[in-house]
Symmetry: D2
């Protein structure tokens, strides 16, 4: 299988403004090597977090853009996530005093003192768990924190989740599932990276178990089918991801998009609204990034009619 590695610098924006690092045919299975959110620079609990952050050009280095042959603006890109393999036997997380769900940050500005930074290194133990100590010990449930196509004109920070995907930090972007993304530029310009060994809902402190990885994907195109926000399909469920601020707007987008999806199965819009009221699921993927991400779900057995 073809292995795609980033040539030169990783990308710190989702954008059309750099040359593709590879061209892939729909149907071809490829492996992408991705770096972790810290670009591999954070390796010890004694590192100076501020220093490491300043060394990076930005968060979440991306492998990409990957040019999908035949993709045209207005199509939908279907990404089959086949497998995620850990790039190494340890993962890193950290608490930062001005980033995270329960700290002041760039937008929710405060003038008081932040808490201390703290770095956590987790090592793979014999039972296949990532272990920091007896209590901070988590199973391998990998997913890609970032997955996106390029927007039409903008170049979007790899910290941001948005209409074309991006830094959704959504645990359902995982092996076995399919992610649907809008194609806004010819060739789609696909990016991924920021793999997480495991993460809870909300990514509360702002960093999951960050890890380098090998991601196996297969692309497919739905020609002439336009979607406006990312969608996810698992064996049993359809999901839409909304990313916005405040969080209720992210929730509104997620459910409104899911209603749109259901109308494609023949649902009347008001009845789909009623159905999701009684049987929809709605969880928070991230409450820490520049937009918050909410995921609305419905079982296939209810949606299909």
């Amino acid at each position: 299988m073809r292995i795609i590695e980033q040539k030169g610098e990783y990308s710190y924006v989702f954008s059309r403004y750099t040359e593709p690092v590879a061209r892939v045919q729909p149907g071809e299975e490829v492996v992408l090597k991705t770096e972790d959110a810290y670009c591999g620079l954070l390796t010890s609990e004694n590192d100076d977090l501020e220093e490491v952050r300043n060394k990076r050009r930005g968060p979440n280095p991306q492998t990409g853009p990957i040019y999908i042959e035949g993709a045209k603006r207005g199509d939908t890109l279907k990404v089959h996530i086949i497998n995620i393999e850990a790039g190494r036997d340890w993962a890193v997380s950290n608490i930062h005093k001005f980033f995270g769900g329960l700290t002041p940050n760039k937008f929710t500005r405060m003038i008081n003192v932040g808490l201390s930074d703290k770095i956590y290194i987790y090592r793979l133990d014999k039972e296949g768990m990532f272990r920091h100590d007896d209590y901070l010990r988590f199973p391998w449930k990998p997913f890609m924190g970032t997955i996106a196509t390029a927007p039409d004109l903008e170049a979007v920070s790899t910290l941001t989740p948005f209409e074309n995907g991006g830094n959704m930090d959504c645990p359902d972007v995982k092996p076995g599932n399919i992610v649907y993304l809008p194609v806004s530029v010819d060739g789609a310009y696909f990016f991924t990276g920021d793999c997480h060994a495991v993460q809870g809902e909300g990514e509360l402190c702002g960093t999951a178990l960050e890890i380098s990885a090998k991601v196996t994907l297969r692309f497919e195109l739905i020609k002439g089918k336009e979607i406006t926000w990312p969608r996810i399909e698992s064996a049993d469920e359809y999901m839409c991801v909304g990313s916005a601020r405040p969080m209720e707007d992210a929730a509104r987008i997620a459910y409104a998009e899911l209603i749109e999806w259901m109308t494609g199965f023949g649902w009347d819009r008001l009845d789909a609204y009623q159905a999701l009221t009684q049987a929809g699921k709605l969880y928070c993927a991230n409450m820490v990034d520049t937009n918050y991400s909410m995921v609305a779900k419905v079982s296939k057995s209810l949606a299909e009619r």
Copy 2:
């Protein structure tokens, strides 16, 4: 078993300002009869929704207040939910043009035209499902939409979820689970009502399958233990519910309270913050009420140490 029915008018506020309808000893198992959110007035799909809404003194008629013997301000009330029995063989839901997650409303004010109202009557079918038609058909997964103690000085609308519980519309307030509520006035002044035959996460259109019910409960007091927001315990999980606007503040409260709970098991605060980042769950209970409600969860096996 003692059956408590509301004498006289139902309560439309959570408050200390009315006389208790019953006095209950900790440990006694009691059955409370509750009315549905429409006080039983909405019975046909041909009803005039506006007219019915205007007939009510308010939404979500409450059974209560119930005086819990021995409860003192500063205690915690532990409510064991033993059982919920449907009060009838049908349930009602509706879409309202100025209430719900995807419509303009009292606070998210807009000047455009709302959508049409629509009423849905669901009847219990032979398989025990609540059925409107072949597609809108849902299983019996009952819970109490409202559960509260009285606040100290305020009288809070039964549309509002808040520190003492209230209209959280949280599907985890269900048989088998335990709800913990702050006691802010002597006697606790417990209220419940607004039972739902079933509801998805977010209660998207604003009304679940509304039903009258018989709720079997047992109360317990934790003397001198003060909590500031509602907590829920299931067989496997600890949960905290935050209710606020915008929705991210509800999420912050839920996770911050869960960190507090974990410190009670010996967790360092930063480590609990880290643990919930990797293994917490965070779903939306309601995105339609005067405050939004978010539920943060952690497995007992992780929290206890």
Copy 3:
């Protein structure tokens, strides 16, 4: 002129659940004596702020309820603010580590360390300025931080601004202006208090120059005229105050209500929307209370047609 002083305890909720302290006829000019936000307990920069806060039953002690003779649910109460006289020659402000626009607080919960508390005493100097030091020195621009009628069923904390007014902390509630409030219960049950010697827009740190005062008012009733949110009239302008979270909802309410006001002058709704786009004013009254308050304004010369 009749002077109304609070008998017994001050009220810490806006509610119908206590007996009126006075009954006033429409047209009568009365003087209300009000206590400051700290109920007069905070008198020195060396006080222990936490201790003082705990001594109070709540923030913003209210003078009231005052029964307005003839007021019926569905009327509008017109409050002419004639004069505000300082109750003493000093005022107090403070910075609190868990209350204010740039600190974590009860709803925007964080886990980091707060900043230090700090108390500021301002004394009236010879030029009539309130002076803390050479730089913190402000003119006398008094207004009432709280002004409300009782809601229908709720009892609302005196920290909260809402549909019936409340803790709007709006500098336009000042001598010379008229405040219009909904009447939700017979007798209106009017409250005021929390006078400020001066305050900027937003009340950034959470406490203005808090002062006891004598407030001269005259009430008037508009029979059978129902409004849903507070309105203010100055010599030149009409204003509506919206109070909600997030802040954009407060802004939406304020402008939507101002459009309603303009339709009363014969404006088409879309044209009023257009007019306010080009000539409306929109400032923040408070960004610190349990709801945020936004004030939308239009000049009378534009609105009247």
Copy 4:
């Protein structure tokens, strides 16, 4: 004086990814010709608004980027606004059913029917007023809706206000005032456009009196002085603009930045926080764009010490 006109297509992003259209020396006074928000395509009240919107590549065509000689990342760009001259004797505004402060929109998604679109053409009358009819008639109070430098890596939509300025729709970006912008890339890459003949606070319906214009500017560099958000200086006041969602975050940024500015005059941070509480101003510039913009102000006489 040198007149700079856009060669080729206007820019629909604030970005470093296109070639500068001109190079300007600090100190040189230049005139920039700008197109209106509709790129001159909306000229009649009978136009089909949807059709016109689809013809544009995006909103708010920008004149730029302009390369400022000597500007280095980490400097501050000082923009003196000398004059704005109308490009024609009419202006256009419109109400759109899915854009604006009181309509559903891309983020605040709803499923109900929107209101009708409506276009307003205003013509300059003999008294120098822009007149639609006897009531919709407004004076010439011009300002630039967009003003920005390029961000480091991102390309930001011209609908968005952000750290480097952008679509703030702030009426204080007007002749006589100075705007300070961060320099994030060498040469600064300055953009402006979207001039408004007049606009109220909030730009309620989403479009002001849109007009083409000639803007006279003079640039200056403050070498080695880094700011993180836009600042404005008038004859009497210092202002900071925060742009974010929800609106309270925009307010937090604006006031937090103003505190930073005041510390440069020798203020202790807590005392500046206190000072702004009593004498700061805080208004809404826009409540319709992809971020909301709030402007915090302080008088120079208070700030300078």
